[in-house]
Symmetry: C2
Subunit: 497 residues, 2 copies
């Protein structure tokens, strides 16, 4: 226990999770640690949910780094504790309540959230709840498997509750690199020149007089099983690697490529997996989440350094990671999400951005968030931070969804998260469309020919050709028909005619 709280004075703050939870009052705004199901508080949220289930009226605004585990988002949603939620989520219970209109959700670029806390744009932050590995002699908070917005939560909250999680391996100490930006007009350059650069401290400086409670827990991160890699994702991965080879040959990419960012989900995992068997080496990653396939790349010596804000292994990857934490710590850095997702650093390093779309349209707009323009899936996450600022930006998607009843290439996406100004390349299992330098009509033909599923190609050409007969021929649309594919799906269960 001593090694966990290294400042004697703080031990008197130790209490039960229930007592700590009682510090959270109705109407409070609470910011927590956590990014993906990694490093989020668990015991206090569970105790809070219990109070609500026992009949107490309690509603909070909840701000996290990104998605978090079920002990936080799930438990608090089901017990109706969440009034408003920022900025990203992947939890079924929460998602359903958002889409039922019961929880107000604002979907934000992840790089914006830490500075919005600093700027006071969320109003007063009443409480921070953060998971920690330990508290140092200087009162520094050592995070666990993610950093997220913990530094800003700690800095801006009036009170702090700390969950020391003894299930997290002590070898995590030293993996973090905490750098805190100033507020304008006093900001200075962030001195990262390479993904391997360490520019900060290994713990988060904290005003310990704000610490209201410390609790112990041993609930592990709620990691999930890894989905298998399907044939389609493998093909997508091959197209991307071919594209990298071509760009190297053209002299537009160095042979070690540039730092890679890879989004979440099975396609993203397949793309990194494909690199294991490729001829590329001496790679680096500057990304958000470090997943299983990254450990393969590190094991093979293909990736020298992976910088992110969260370690998110699968259930299978969990043991392997924890068994060799000393090794992986030399090849991984966990940074605050403000830094992992920072436009300044992403643009300077020339990160290659790779993210997954729900759907894309023939003019190159991408929908990452909302089914039929209304139903929130997860949120934009960091995809905009990387897409806008990267060397170039790749979006992947299966060409169809729901057994072929949905075409993921449509005349017009039902919600735009990434504009035509931001998308360089679209890839499906059908092929790759390089959109750089193209006018909208050239783009449309490339996307239909290379990316759309053969089942939908003629329908798309038909739309395009009829639209081109209209009055405005820059980005031709038949405006009353542009969203008709979505309407057809909602009415008939299929986009097919």
């Amino acid at each position: 226990m001593n090694r966990k709280i290294r400042l004697e004075y703080l031990k008197r703050k130790i209490m039960t999770a229930a007592d700590a939870a009682s510090l959270i009052k109705n109407g409070m705004t609470v910011a927590t640690s956590g990014f993906t199901p990694s490093g989020y508080p668990k015991a206090v949220p569970l105790a809070l949910a219990k109070r609500a289930e026992e009949g107490e009226e309690i509603k909070i605004n909840l701000i996290t780094g990104a998605s978090v585990g079920d002990e936080l988002d799930g438990a608090l949603s089901r017990s109706n504790v969440i009034d408003k939620r920022y900025p990203y989520q992947t939890n079924d219970s929460l998602r359903n309540r958002i889409n039922d209109g019961l929880i107000g959700f604002q979907d934000l670029h992840l790089s914006h959230v830490p500075q919005m806390l600093d700027y006071g744009f969320f109003g007063k932050i009443d409480m921070a709840i953060v998971e920690a590995l330990a508290i140092t002699e200087e009162g520094g908070i050592i995070p666990t498997t993610s950093v997220g917005l913990t530094p800003q939560a700690i800095n801006n909250a009036e009170g702090i509750i700390i969950e020391i999680n003894t299930a997290q391996p002590k070898e995590l100490e030293g993996i973090h690199d905490i750098y805190i930006t100033e507020k304008p007009p006093n900001r200075r350059p962030i001195p990262i020149l390479h993904p391997k650069d360490r520019i900060g401290t290994t713990s988060i400086p904290c005003d310990i007089s704000k610490i209201k409670a410390i609790i112990y827990t041993d609930i592990p991160d709620n990691v999930r099983p890894l989905g298998g890699i399907d044939e389609a994702s493998k093909r997508i991965s091959e197209y991307i690697i071919d594209f990298f080879n071509f760009e190297v040959k053209q002299g537009r990419l160095p042979k070690e490529l540039l730092p890679l960012q890879s989004g979440v989900g099975s396609i993203a995992n397949a793309v990194l997996g494909g690199l294991v068997d490729s001829k590329f080496y001496n790679l680096t990653c500057y990304t958000e989440v470090i997943q299983d396939s990254m450990f393969d790349l590190i094991d093979e010596g293909k990736v020298l350094m992976a910088s992110g804000t969260a370690l998110t292994p699968s259930i299978e990857g969990f043991k392997r990671l924890y068994d060799r934490m000393d090794f992986y710590r030399k090849h991984c850095i966990l940074r605050p999400m403000e830094i992992s997702n920072h436009p300044e650093v992403i643009r300077r390093l020339g990160v290659i951005a790779m993210n997954t779309a729900i759907e894309a349209d023939i003019y190159g707009h991408v929908n990452s968030t909302m089914i039929a323009g209304s139903r929130m899936m997860n949120g934009i996450g960091g995809s905009g931070d990387f897409t806008r600022n990267g060397y170039f930006s790749i979006f992947t998607t299966h060409s169809t969804a729901k057994g072929g009843n949905i075409s993921s290439i449509v005349p017009k996406v039902a919600h735009v998260d990434h504009t035509e100004h931001d998308v360089s390349v679209i890839v499906t299992e059908q092929g790759l469309a390089d959109l750089r330098g193209t006018s909208p009509r050239e783009r449309a033909r490339k996307i239909i020919r290379n990316c759309a599923h053969p089942q939908y190609r003629d329908l798309l050409y038909d739309y395009l050709e009829r639209a081109e007969k209209g009055f405005y021929r820059h980005q031709p649309q038949i405006i009353h028909e542009a969203l008709s594919w979505h309407t057809r799906y909602l009415n008939t269960g299929s986009m097919k005619k």
Copy 2:
């Protein structure tokens, strides 16, 4: 003349505009100086247009900093010389050909264009045509009234044609600050900490062996008369200044505010004009274009420093600027557009972004570029660079257009250039909606109540309330009706029912 070409050797490259234009061949990609009708080449494009009018088959791809004057975009469009055009334009002849499908136009974020030249994404650049004030003893090119992408045009082109414009006042020398970024993976921080910081040289380094021709011209920048400030724009300006006052009172802005960026057009001019009569002082600007109202602010001592990439006075402002160039040079810096629009610097400085929308929707998406989703107006310009990276982002628009037949607040915009994740504040002459921290449905009510024209308010509430009865209540849409306002306008000439 001597002061213009300070390197004796280069004088043998002097020729006529017609001879210089003959170096431009069919199929070439040409990059030019110029940003707004400022500092663009004039004589060589006119000579090139003449060749085409005389029957020669000649087509080029044309890349400029932003919009340019009629001698370049207008003359070359009318003579059918432009095949493809990047990245922004405001010329009637060009716009009409784009919308007739005769010229392929790709609309790009301005901050992306210089690096796309460096990265080779436009392919080989055959020729740069750049307007210059003079060529220094070291072969440096001194720009005139804008910098734009001239450094990247010069660096990446195989050949260079220089137009020395003797109509530009020699006192411009020293106003420029040329800083050139490295390519990834070797990029370093851009060391600007304040809009006033000079970090580079006063001329553009140039490999003079690439200079193929030097011509003299005295055609002045084709500046335009200033539109009057209407009542609505004045009201918009007042709402914004009230908002600034409120933010200062809340401690969310310092009393000198933060560096201001202000878009183009009459509303933008009115907003800066409003600051002249406000109580704010010690202001700075970090923007693209320095317009007339900025000179008023500098004269009054309200603005200490204005950093931009172009000086664009009106016809009325022209004489005043040129008469006092020595004075304004102390308060203005002209930078490459890569630096004026750089995400790194904009985010570090915490720039307040203010841009004009064509239309906005009830969920906070903004259309800056395309009427009815198809007809290109000008392009996104730098609005995305500032909006995404600013401290917060304000969009202004009149609540109606075309004599009230169009509502600029609609259920769903027909083209998205700025997403709901990027827009902090919307202002019309009806009022201001602060969208920070709001869920989509809260946003909708704020925007309808505060910004929509009374004539359209009930129709918008009606749409929202019926949409809320649907199945998905996060961002409720009636997908088959979402764009019906635009269809109604196209069919009947009015959005009214």
